[in-house]
């Protein structure tokens, strides 16, 4: 049975579980992050099947396994103001496998060993805007993007140079 698609206030989305933002206070209540169907339609229309394969193989089943959470992208990001980067969060972990798509639209999914020395990150926006809080009180935020990046040389399962790359580390945990 697939994930339910929720239609609310003119937006279609489905929900992915993740560790909570305040994991240190309450580690047992998962956070709910939404994938706007517009993002999935965009990936589909551009033929980004490998990104869709990673959504199915790594984001949906694996976000809950994230080991670190960082906040703030330390770059210019306009999202209603030039400090929009502060409202972005990054979940990271080092999965055992990667997924991609081979052979165009009539091709097939490939499951393979994760690229060595890399970690998988999921970028989300917090549900901080008043409109979002009121209209989408069932979600904690929105999944914007996912990708592989090099692993930090010191902190296992974290993106390389995370100290300079992000404003702060919110939490880390054992997986």
């Amino acid at each position: 049975m697939g994930l339910p698609i929720i239609n609310s206030n003119g937006v279609s989305y489905f929900i992915v579980d993740s560790p909570p933002l305040d994991y240190d206070k309450d580690p047992f209540t998962p956070a709910k992050y939404a994938v706007n169907m517009d993002i999935l339609r965009g990936l589909g229309s551009r033929g980004q099947y490998s990104s869709i394969a990673q959504l199915y193989g790594l984001v949906i089943p694996g976000m809950i396994l994230s080991v670190h959470l960082f906040q703030g992208l330390n770059r210019n990001l306009y999202d209603g103001g030039f400090d929009g980067d502060s409202d972005k969060f990054v979940f990271s972990r080092k999965p055992a496998y990667d997924f991609y798509w081979k052979g165009g639209r009539n091709g097939e999914q490939v499951k393979c060993m994760a690229p060595p020395g890399q970690v998988f990150v999921i970028l989300v926006s917090g549900n901080t805007k008043q409109r979002d809080k009121e209209n989408f009180s069932d979600v904690d935020g929105w999944i914007d993007h996912w990708t592989w990046v090099d692993q930090d040389t010191v902190l296992s399962e974290a993106p390389i140079n995370w100290v300079d790359r992000y404003k702060t580390k919110v939490w880390s945990r054992e997986n």
Binding site: L3, P4, I5, R46, S50, R105, W148
Partner: protein, 128 residues
């Protein structure tokens, strides 16, 4: 639209519109305020070069295969370059301007690596 996400990836992709085969693209990601350029559908690594440029390299290949790049902080960059944040912008022109306003080694690298394909593919980005 179905009220559940198809739990089979192959079925989901088979159900996409006919025109959705991959071809090199550029688009503005409004959520992360960046232009994403990709020339191959594959698993890739994003390598942050600086606050403006991220380069994409294909995974699961022996070669150092660059498959795209991101230009980040578009609103700020366009203000600095005195460009309107609307309409269609040709990517090769955009890269040329970027090199002039932000003469950085990473920007130069993107220009050297990708300008031929941007010109050949005539890639543009539509900012609406």
């Amino acid at each position: 639209m179905s009220n559940v996400l198809n739990d089979n990836l192959e079925d989901f992709i088979a159900g996409l519109p006919d025109k959705s085969e991959f071809k090199p693209f550029a688009y503005y990601d409004k959520h992360l305020d960046c232009i994403r350029v990709q020339i191959l559908d594959c698993s890739f690594k994003e390598e942050r070069k600086n606050k403006i440029i991220t380069v994409l390299s294909a995974n699961h290949t022996e070669q150092n295969n660059f498959v795209g790049f991101n230009i980040k902080g578009i609103r700020y960059i366009f203000e600095e370059m005195k460009l309107p944040l609307s309409g269609v912008h040709k990517l090769s022109d955009l890269i040329d301007k970027l090199v002039k306003v932000f003469p950085d080694i990473s920007v130069m690298q993107v220009k050297d690596l990708f300008r031929p394909i941007l010109r050949d593919q005539d890639l543009s980005v539509d900012l609406g």
